[in-house]
């Protein structure tokens, strides 16, 4: 919402500069990045490069790794098992979550198991998955899937249980059958939770892919962390870091956008 009902105050000096910048999102973002890089530069000049490389060195390393194709190849190697695992986690987590949220007896039967599996730290599964699925892409995908499926499932299940009993009663008074009530009240109430779950699942899946590549397959972004970390090439170490950060931001934006498209009724709060 870009409203400027009040005329810009014509005060002197810094105030009006801040007011002008504050109203411009792009300018504000650019300024924030500039300040960040400035601080980084100053700090890097005062510590050994082994602790923190300078921004210029990092950009040079980034350019070099991009030009050699290493960074792009690694990104590809990371993205596809990540995407496959996440998509399966989303589909299965959402479907199971809805079913468990709607059929209470099924939830009573399965919830304890889900809780136990969810409580086990993901990393503890890894040796078992390697034993079952070998050292390869399949293990990686399964690991990403397991990391992401539980937050998706549990969030959606909670959402499906959350349906307003008053709205259910209203639908019943209008003559709605169980099936119609599911369609008209329960599923739409669960929709925001599907996106809330996805937001968590994306984060978990990212952790999953990096940890998986770092520990098992020696490919992709995860392996770059390991390799450049161990060889203490810190400037190069920052390149995959930037890729992962960009990926996380991009995915979060995508979820926000999808939420906006699929939940047009959601009132937006501006603080």
């Amino acid at each position: 919402m870009t409203q400027s009902a009040e005329p810009m105050p014509q005060s002197n000096g810094a105030n009006s500069i801040f007011a002008a910048i504050g109203g411009n999102q792009v300018l504000l973002g650019a300024l924030s990045i500039a300040v960040f890089i400035g601080v980084w530069q100053v700090v890097s000049m005062n510590v050994p490069p082994i602790i923190l490389p300078s921004p210029a060195n990092v950009f040079a390393a980034f350019a070099e790794l991009t030009a050699s194709g290493e960074l792009i190849r690694a990104t590809g190697q990371t993205i596809w098992p990540f995407a496959v695992g996440l998509v399966f986690a989303f589909i299965i987590g959402t479907t199971l979550g809805l079913l468990l949220g709607i059929f209470r007896p099924a939830a009573r039967l399965l919830d304890p198991y889900i809780f136990v599996f969810w409580s086990i730290p993901n990393i503890a599964w890894l040796p078992l998955f390697i034993a079952w699925f070998g050292v390869g892409q399949l293990t990686l995908i399964v690991f990403v899937f397991v990391s992401a499926v539980f937050p998706q499932l549990l969030t959606v299940e909670a959402g499906a249980k959350e349906a307003d009993s008053f709205l259910v009663e209203v639908a019943r008074s209008l003559g709605g059958t169980k099936r119609e009530i599911l369609h008209i009240v329960v599923l739409p109430s669960a929709l925001p939770y599907i996106f809330a779950g996805l937001r968590i699942a994306v984060g978990r899946a990212l952790v999953g892919i990096i940890v998986g590549q770092l520990l098992i397959v020696a490919t992709g972004i995860g392996y770059m962390f390991q390799f450049y970390g161990e060889t203490l090439s810190l400037a190069k170490y920052f390149a995959p870091l930037i890729v992962i950060a960009a990926l996380a931001v991009l995915l979060n934006r995508a979820v926000n956008w999808a939420e906006h498209v699929f939940i047009p009724w959601k009132p937006r709060a501006f603080i």
Binding site: F166, S173, L174, G175, G176, E180, P188, W265, P267
Partner: protein
């Protein structure tokens, strides 16, 4: 004309510590076809229970409720309910919410051209022309209750069951909507059973005011309101008869508070 009849109805609830709470006991009332009947009483006297039973949402424990002579079992397409909490689906537009009144009755998604025309006409009737594509949260409380009213009317009900529909609205909006309800009632000629705790509202709107005792709810007194309809065509609240009835009702209800 459709007629709603309560015969020796009784209903109790289980309290938090397992004790039996008798909400309504031996309640008998005949709402004759085409009449506007209001039930007033202190909170906790079983008014809402009464209406939920009439709407077929909860069963009575003993006794029965008859609609045109037939015993009521579950929600009936002949009746529409209007709630204080309104209960609009936040994910449906105003038009979508009103359409639900037909869709859930006919058990199909698609409205005929005639039906969608009727939905639009009903929205116009309650003064919401132009708001068809808004979402409920974009409307004021008074406008939302107009949608609730339209959703009820679009079913062309023989009986309207209204549970403190204007209770949550500010005084001005409430007065406006009371007049509009009388106007609509004059057109659709359905039977109305209206629950409120507001004596003025009860007397202003209805032909008959039923005063309840406090728990367990039973009928204490029935007042006939003989002021001519429509009451918005003159200053009904200033009539001697209005003040007389209000003072009788107040005396009666005061003993129950």
């Amino acid at each position: 004309m459709p007629e709603l009849e309560f015969v020796n109805v009784r209903k109790s609830y289980r309290g938090p510590t397992g004790e039996n709470l008798l909400a309504l006991d031996d309640f008998s009332l005949k709402v004759a076809g085409g009449r506007f009947v209001t039930v007033v009483g202190p909170s906790g006297c079983g008014k809402t229970t009464l209406l939920r039973m009439a709407g077929g949402l909860i069963p009575s424990e003993t006794g029965k409720i008859r609609l045109d002579g037939a015993v009521l079992e579950g929600p009936s397409p002949k009746m529409s309910m209007v709630f204080q909490g309104i209960g609009l689906m936040p994910w449906k537009t105003i038009e979508g919410n009103v359409s639900l009144g037909i869709q859930l009755q006919a058990h199909r998604q698609k409205l005929t051209a005639e039906e969608s025309h009727f939905v639009k006409a009903t929205l116009e009737l309650v003064g919401l022309k132009g708001f068809e594509h808004y979402y409920p949260h974009q409307l004021s409380g008074g406008m939302q209750q107009r949608v609730g009213l339209a959703r009820a009317l679009v079913r062309q009900p023989e009986i309207l069951l209204m549970d403190e529909p204007f209770g949550a609205l500010d005084a001005q909006t409430r007065t406006v909507l009371q007049d509009e309800l009388l106007n609509l009632w004059g057109r659709v000629k359905s039977t109305v059973l209206f629950i409120t705790h507001d004596l003025d509202e009860a007397i202003y709107l209805s032909d008959m005011v039923v005063i309840m005792r406090r728990r367990p709810g039973r009928i204490k007194q029935v007042l006939e309101v003989n002021l001519p309809q429509p009451r918005y065509s003159y200053d009904a609240r200033a009539e001697k008869e209005f003040t007389r009835l209000r003072s009788i009702a107040w005396q009666s209800i005061k003993e129950e508070l």
